[in-house]
């Protein structure tokens, strides 16, 4: 069996965190959880994961800041990020406010389609 990949799940909603983590763990991934962008930042620096799922609509917009930080960092920008959000308008605003930052590697709307998420995660991890 190939080496176990690590996924960082970032969401401020504990139930969503539990859901995504269990789902990904059931599919054979190792999961690290973060409740907001700041916590995610610390975890990434400590131990860079192979992929990140990120909720952008967290208090203080720290999801957006975290995304920008990631993509502006030479060492970390290669880590694929899947944005998972409940508000499509917010996602569009988020996309339009970024400058010199590449678009996210994947985007899923809440409520999350399980098959799509797993398929996207699998594809991004094999191509990486």
């Amino acid at each position: 069996m190939a080496e176990q990949k690590t996924i960082l799940v970032v969401d401020d909603e504990p139930d969503v965190l539990t859901y995504l983590s269990t789902l990904l763990e059931d599919s054979g991934y190792r999961v690290v959880q973060a409740g907001d962008g700041n916590q995610a930042s610390d975890l990434v620096k400590l131990n860079p994961p192979d992929l990140i799922t990120l909720d952008v609509t967290m208090p203080e917009k720290s999801g957006v800041r975290f995304y920008r930080e990631m993509k502006e960092s030479q060492e970390l920008k290669a880590i694929p990020i899947i944005i998972i959000t409940g508000v499509s308008e917010d996602f569009e605003r988020f996309i339009s406010t970024r400058r010199q930052v590449p678009p996210p590697d994947g985007y899923l709307a809440k409520p999350v389609n399980r098959e799509k998420l797993l398929e996207l995660v699998g594809r991004l991890l094999t191509s990486a």
């Binding site: 139930d15 539990t18 859901y19």
Partner: protein, 482 residues
């Protein structure tokens, strides 16, 4: 008088007279004779003012009295009935002994000057009146956003603390607003506008449309900026009813999407828990389902209270039990966020006459708000939420207190506004708005006490409707039984 002096006296371009002690005109120059006719044997006041008695303040008399020069402003009437404003100056004519022998009075025609002065005053008053009475909030501000002048409507609504900062008077903020139109006008000299929500001294929220214009000095430099705010609250209120529906839908759909994800997560854990015969996972999943169903219930209640103004369905019930019930439901959520929940209930008089479902929604919203305030506060290791119920002879009181992030003054003032949420995109901005409406529908109110980083306390005061009738209907309860 010498001929030469007589000539000069005659040619003077003002009215010149020489008067005796009784104000009889002894001599007068040509201009005087031309405009006032023959003076022989007549008194000054008879000729100038057509009066039978002397004037009250007569400068000629004063000069006779003290030997000094005096002056005054008078209106005199010429032979042909023309009124002339004159500046009167008197000089004593002394004899060899230095005694006042006669007084010379010189009256200069200042009618045109007077007219200009009057016009200027009238126009100044007119502008002042315009400035004062314009049905807009007008303030004049300097570069540091100090209010140096303001009109009546502004003073009535925001106080007359001249020299205080615009953002303090309008918004009770400690610092400048992010995109200040006054600053922009100072920078580019152009007219700018923006829409602002401001708070009057009576605590009312006003939507204003603000325009700013430069005021330049003679050199063309911008000296100050005039800010004019029109109160568009009635328009916004109408509009907001329409917009609110749209906003409500988008805000609710966001809320529901989150809850559905949680619910789906719960299903996933329940299903896989059964497949894997993992009771721990199953239990966890079931908790998630229960929690999210509870929250959807709360959301639906909020929508109901928002969608329709309901008359409270009054009934007598046990308020302590209601609080206990709500706390039980919130307990697990509080626990997940490391918040301890404590109650202080009035067990002696637990009955309250109110709409139970409405109070449930109100307290739920206040508690959720308190939990959120704790959850986002990363500065304290331990958080606590207190809820209390206390019955007084005239009113019932609920208190919900937390030691979470707290609010600044601006947030505190807008806390009950519809769709105002300080929780990023997570809050619907419905909860506290509805809580406040429920208190109001019961004839009560909610007061907020909050300090940034310290915590917040909401105090709900509900007046008792008919204390006597409930007291008679209800059997007396034993103390400490509940």
């Amino acid at each position: 008088m010498d001929d030469q002096y007589r000539h000069i006296f005659d040619a003077m371009p003002c009215y010149l007279t020489v008067q005796d002690r009784d104000l009889g005109v002894l001599a007068a120059n040509r201009k005087f004779r031309d405009d006032f006719g023959d003076h022989t044997g007549r008194k000054c006041f008879q000729i100038y003012k057509r009066r039978s008695e002397k004037c009250e303040n007569c400068p000629v008399e004063q000069t006779y009295h003290d030997g000094q020069t005096h002056s005054s402003e008078e209106i005199v009437t010429t032979l042909d009935g023309r009124e002339v404003s004159v500046l009167v100056q008197t000089t004593p004519l002394l004899d060899a002994d230095g005694q006042v022998q006669a007084v010379m009075e010189m009256s200069t025609d200042i009618t045109r000057m007077k007219r200009l002065e009057r016009q200027l005053r009238v126009s100044r008053e007119r502008y002042r009146l315009l400035f004062e009475e314009v049905p807009c909030f007008i303030s004049i501000q300097d570069r540091d956003l100090n209010i140096i002048e303001a009109n009546r409507l502004f003073r009535d609504n925001f106080g007359s603390h001249f020299g205080c900062k615009c953002y303090d008077a309008y918004k009770h903020r400690d610092e400048e607003c992010l995109d200040c139109p006054v600053q922009r006008t100072f920078q580019d000299g152009e007219i700018h506008h923006s829409e602002e929500v401001v708070t009057s001294i009576s605590g009312r929220q006003l939507n204003t449309l603000v325009y700013t214009a430069p005021i330049r000095n003679a050199a063309g430099e911008i000296q100050s900026v005039m800010e004019m705010g029109a109160n568009i609250t009635p328009i916004r209120e109408l509009q907001s009813q329409l917009e609110a529906t749209g906003l409500l839908i988008s805000s609710i759909s966001h809320g529901i999407k989150g809850l559905l994800t949680g619910l789906e997560g719960g299903f996933y854990l329940v299903n896989t828990g059964m497949e894997k015969e993992d009771p721990k996972r199953l239990h966890k999943g079931w908790e998630m389902v229960r929690r999210n169903v509870e929250r959807i219930k709360g959301l639906v209640l909020n929508i109901l209270y928002y969608a329709k103004e309901r008359q409270p369905q009054l009934e007598v019930f046990d308020a302590s039990k209601l609080v206990e019930d709500i706390c039980r439901q919130m307990e697990s959520r509080a626990g997940e966020n490391q918040v301890s929940l404590s109650m202080d209930l009035d067990v002696d008089q637990p009955e309250i006459e109110a709409d139970e479902n409405a109070l449930r929604a109100m307290l739920n919203n206040l508690l959720e708000n308190a939990l959120d305030a704790c959850r986002v506060d990363k500065k304290k290791p331990q958080h606590q939420v207190w809820i209390s119920y206390q019955s007084f002879p005239s009113h019932a009181e609920f208190r919900v207190r937390d030691n979470g992030i707290g609010m600044d003054r601006e947030t505190r003032e807008k806390v009950f506004s519809l769709f105002f949420s300080s929780k990023g995109t997570e809050g619907t901005g419905l909860g506290l708005f509805i809580a406040n409406n429920i208190a109001k529908a019961h004839g009560g109110r909610i007061d907020v006490e909050s300090e940034l980083e310290q915590g917040t306390q909401f105090v709900v005061t509900l007046p008792k409707r008919d204390t006597r009738s409930t007291a008679v209907e209800e059997p007396p309860r034993e103390k400490g039984i509940d």
